[in-house]
Symmetry: C2
Subunit: 214 residues, 2 copies
């Protein structure tokens, strides 16, 4: 089992992810084409804050301080979101669907290396399938209505994944506590590479589902 | 008891208020001086969405459509918020404390004219005293640290109330369904004027509490 400091770092990364996700999804809500959809997306944002609170509580239980645990990841995550601001409703939804799913897959794998309680917490704060379902519905409906949007959204999705991988490598390089969890959990570098392959495979399948794998 | 259409209109006004409050408070969260306070304010925003969902459900139960019930109030409320965008953390908190409290007082009075179930719902979706407490703490701490901010915030609070009253009069003039609830509930115009006096009295007391009644 990873040492306490590593777990605090991992929960800090997740916690700041929730704060940023709240902010980002709350902003996306304003792009909604009607009030009901605006409320649906605002509710997604709110769910992130409940998750933040649970992670923050657990960081304190483990003897950490939420602000300190999050701080190392602020720059990389803000940079990622600043460089991938959605320009419209559909770009926002693709970001939710593509970006959050890759991150969720990653944390779902890492959760297996944690002790039962932290494993359960991490799995519980991952996004609900409902968020994805809503995004998929909206995106496929838009592509059905105007097939030309698929090309633009596919480009956008590729850019998102490129930026996300860049920032993930930066975080990995700068934070030994996190890379240790992954290395010790998987066993060796070859297994880390297998993990990355699984993430990319799942990502590719999701792109196919929404008709963006052209 | 007011007719169903009037209640739907009132709940629509409240529901759109929640959506806008979510948006506005979520934006304010980014102005927070640290991550913990940012999370506290984001959690306040999330509470508005849970309230929105309850109001929206009740509108549907009464045979209304949430989007239609909210639409008549979109312009006035957006105009109010566009013309009173906080420029910093403290202005945001004063807006929460001053603005939400006046609105809450108003709806608390109106709730008395509704049947028990709607009365309970309206009272329950009003803001928790915790929001106010947090705002009061932050504002008084800031004034203690730098007394000169009090003058600027007092001006800001007066502007807020002026803009809010302007938009409230516009809403009242345009929406007979709402004015009917107030008129029938209070009994006559003299009572409406007493109600307004109570609102202004309470507002003035709150300003004194945070040291802005100079």
């Amino acid at each position: 089992m990873p040492q306490k400091e590593s777990v605090i770092a991992l929960l800090g990364l997740l916690a700041y992810g929730e704060l940023v996700a709240f902010d980002r999804i709350a902003t996306d809500a304003k792009l909604a084409p009607d009030l009901q959809k605006r409320a649906t997306v605002a509710a997604m944002a709110s769910a992130e804050i409940r998750n933040y609170q649970r992670l923050s509580e657990r960081i304190k239980e483990l003897g950490g301080h939420p602000d300190e645990a999050m701080r190392p990841f602020v720059q990389a995550m803000d940079d990622f979101h600043d460089s991938t601001r959605p320009h419209n409703w559909l770009e926002g939804l693709v970001k939710v669907y593509v970006g959050d799913s890759v991150a969720d897959d990653f944390f779902r794998e890492i959760a297996q290396f944690l002790e039962p309680r932290d494993k359960a917490l991490v799995l519980e704060v991952l996004h609900t399938p409902e968020n994805g379902k809503f995004a998929v519905q909206e995106i496929t409906a838009a592509i059905d209505a105007e097939p030309s949007v698929a090309g633009r959204l596919a480009l956008w999705a590729r850019r998102l994944v490129g930026e996300a991988l860049g920032q993930a490598q930066r975080v990995a390089a700068e934070h030994d506590l996190l890379t240790t969890i992954v290395l010790e959990g998987t066993g060796d570098l070859a297994k880390v590479s297998e993990l990355m392959k699984r993430l990319m495979h799942n990502h590719s399948e999701r792109m196919t589902v929404i008709g963006l794998n052209n």
